[in-house]
């Protein structure tokens, strides 16, 4: 019996997108610090500008180091292509501007990172794009909210910071019935713990700053195209199915087939909005990807130890982590995260917001930082920081209790993290 013999995830994480340099023998890709790239002749230049040939023109559009990062992420997510961006938020805006025009509509999970919630609630409406928020655990609510103007369903694999788990399969199926794609923010899971395309998602984005980097050193984002969504049949996406004047009437679905979306995202989105990734950032992120699988295994192991401690700590009111049996979407989590549910968790200390404040100010090893997915364990109080711009209704819709604390467990010895939390929890109860 013959069997396929394609490389596995860990091999792709180390090698995809990069070949040893034939000129120098270097097995790793250098940082290509070059704003532009030399054309062979004027015809070559014109062909590149007219999307006739692949190649690099100018680092805002593409760069060899950045392209290696993009191809590696695409390989890990099983996507046809990816575009790297200046941040995770830039990746989200790139997806929206590629698919939508004024008057378009989004149906989004209400359990969102604060920056995304702000973009959807306050910023996009100024440009004529509106959003209906629905509970992430009610796929039928996505169905009810879809209108003829809907161009995107959106959710986070694991909602930040409340840890809601999106039922990707159910929501994607609802979207596909009505010709609407699902974009998933897969930041908290990373492609190692969850590959949303396997469950039917059409597009994925990451804040690469988090687990992909793994070291809290750089800001970056990446948008990945599954190549599966049928833009032609949907009838909702003239941006991809009708001639685009600035490139001599190119019809992206005709020319690029399964890569139509990601081709337009690069050709228009990076050209016009320009939120590109620097090659140096891409280099750091490539290094991060090489150890992603090993790091995620350790992150999960450590997180489980910390969760085990928190659920029995007398100072803790409740703990929310998708692997816990009392998590509302525990079954979905088991289905989607066969290797573990990440290393971010939410919990509240007894004594409400004030006790939460004392906890955060009392940790020493666990750092008070507005980031996650770092080698260092990080803690934050979302209601006063990452989600501060949400009003009470917005916080309630996102399920954010005022006393909620978000903890991202790092790669330290978990005993040391627990000892630090234990001391800080005791101090949190001393008014």
């Amino acid at each position: 019996m013959v069997e396929p013999d394609l490389p596995g995830f860990e091999t792709l994480a180390v090698h995809a997108g990069v070949r040893p340099d034939p000129a120098t023998g270097a097995p790793t890709i250098p940082v290509y610090y070059s704003a532009g790239f030399v054309f062979e002749d004027t015809d070559h230049a014109a062909s590149l500008f007219n999307l006739e040939r692949p190649g690099h023109i100018y680092t805002r559009i593409s760069n060899p180091t950045v392209a290696a990062f993009e191809e590696r992420v695409a390989a890990l997510e099983d996507g046809v292509g990816a575009v790297a961006t200046a941040s995770g938020q830039a990746a989200l805006v790139l997806a929206i501007t590629t698919l939508m025009n004024a008057g378009s509509h989004i149906v989004s999970s209400a359990a969102l990172y604060g920056g995304t919630a702000n973009l959807f609630r306050n910023t996009l409406p100024r440009f004529g794009i509106t959003t209906t928020f629905v509970p992430p655990d009610q796929p039928e609510a996505f169905h009810r909210a879809i209108t003829p103007k809907t161009r995107l369903l959106f959710g986070e694999t694991i909602g930040n910071p409340v840890m809601d788990v999106l039922d990707i399969e159910a929501v994607a199926a609802i979207g596909h019935e009505q010709g609407v794609p699902l974009l998933v923010d897969n930041t908290l899971a990373s492609p190692y713990l969850c590959r949303p395309f396997e469950f039917g998602a059409d597009l994925v984005l990451h804040s690469a700053t988090k687990f992909i980097s793994g070291h809290g050193t750089v800001i970056g984002g990446v948008l990945v195209d599954s190549g599966r969504f049928d833009w032609s049949s949907s009838g909702r996406f003239p941006n991809l199915t009708e001639p685009y004047v600035p490139y001599n009437g190119v019809v992206f679905v005709d020319e690029f087939g399964p890569a139509a979306f990601i081709a337009r995202a690069r050709a228009e989105g990076l050209r016009d909005f320009g939120a590109c990734m620097s090659p140096e950032t891409a280099f750091f992120l490539i290094l991060g990807l090489e150890s992603l699988a090993s790091r995620m295994d350790r992150h999960v192991t450590n997180a489980r130890r910390v969760v085990d401690y928190l659920i029995q700590a007398p100072e803790v009111a409740w703990v929310r982590y998708p692997e816990l049996a009392d998590h509302p979407q525990h079954d979905t989590a088991c289905r989607q995260f066969s290797r573990g549910a990440g290393s971010v968790m939410a919990f509240a200390v007894k004594g409400g917001r004030e006790a939460g404040r004392r906890l955060i100010e009392s940790t020493q090893l666990v750092l008070h930082v507005a980031n996650l997915g770092d080698a260092r364990s990080l803690i934050i109080h979302p209601a006063s920081t990452t989600h501060q711009q949400l009003d009470a209704a917005g916080l309630a819709a996102a399920g954010i209790d005022e006393g909620l604390v978000r903890l991202s467990v790092g790669l330290e010895d978990p005993a040391d993290v627990i000892a630090d939390l234990s001391r800080a929890l005791r101090l949190s109860q001393k008014a």
Binding site: R53, P54, D78, E255, P258
Partner: protein, 270 residues
């Protein structure tokens, strides 16, 4: 009979230049030619890259034999008033191209990753007949060499292997029929021996779907052919190394006449 989707490289009805027909392989569609279609259309050629019936955006059941496929393409050209054309085919598309060449339609012929016969592994045929995605993974495994499967040579930020995976998954419903058409077609040798047009046969050194030796044999049978072996290239050569294939096709289109069969080996992509 010829109703179907034809991609013209973005130059619908505006080009009167020499015609170029690009024929995709089993279970695939016109998008595998994206490294060529738009370029050729904007460089003076009248481009026809059809989706064969049942493939891509063309409706209908798949055609069951290479002869029927060739007849379908000939009708398509007839309808467009094209009597002579450069015919470029990949794998199964190259078998169709040989049939067209023997019919006297081709003024130039480019066969990519094909021999005079394409024998299909039994397990691949079984999986394709059952619409089992294993068929796609087997083709990808045999189509991308040790480096090709790790990527790094196609469009910036895209994965050639996953693009091919997606195209083949979309065409899984016709893959079994196509593979059977390839396996049962025995006229390739006679077709090749009857083709006077200047021809180019291109193969990838890592192609395990159609071994380079079979492609070299085809070049040896064609009357006026050149053989080009691309080191490191696999079966999906025009997706995996679009610039290399574009360069070879460009040189072919600008050449007048080749001087008998010869074997060349490119070192550019070693």
């Amino acid at each position: 009979m010829t109703a179907g989707f034809v991609h013209h490289g973005g130059q619908v009805g505006t080009s009167s230049g020499p015609a170029v027909v690009l024929l995709h392989g089993a279970g695939m569609d016109h998008t595998v030619w994206r490294g060529l279609t738009r370029y050729l259309a904007h460089h003076g050629h009248r481009v026809f890259a059809p989706d064969l019936p049942g493939h891509g955006r063309s409706a209908g059941p798949p055609l069951a034999s290479i002869e029927e496929m060739a007849a379908w393409v000939l009708h398509l050209l007839d309808d467009a008033g094209v009597t002579q054309s450069t015919v470029i085919g990949h794998s199964m598309g190259a078998l169709i191209a040989l049939r067209m060449g023997a019919a006297g339609v081709a003024d130039r012929l480019v066969a990519i990753c094909s021999g005079t016969r394409i024998e299909v592994h039994r397990e691949l045929q079984r999986a394709a007949d059952e619409r089992d995605r294993k068929a796609v993974e087997l083709i990808l495994s045999w189509s991308f060499g040790p480096w090709g499967r790790l990527g790094g040579l196609s469009d910036p930020g895209t994965s050639a292997l996953i693009e091919c995976r997606r195209v083949l998954q979309n065409g899984l419903h016709v893959l079994g029929s196509d593979l059977r058409a390839c396996h049962t077609y025995l006229g390739g040798t006679d077709d090749a021996a009857a083709i006077p047009a200047p021809s180019l046969v291109v193969s990838g050194s890592e192609d395990r779907m159609v071994r380079p030796a079979l492609a070299a044999d085809l070049a040896g049978i064609l009357i006026d052919a050149r053989f080009e072996l691309v080191p490191g290239g696999g079966h999906m050569l025009m997706v995996q190394q679009p610039e290399r294939v574009r360069d070879l096709v460009d040189r072919m289109l600008s050449s007048r006449q080749l001087s008998g069969s010869q074997v060349l080996s490119s070192q550019a992509d070693a």
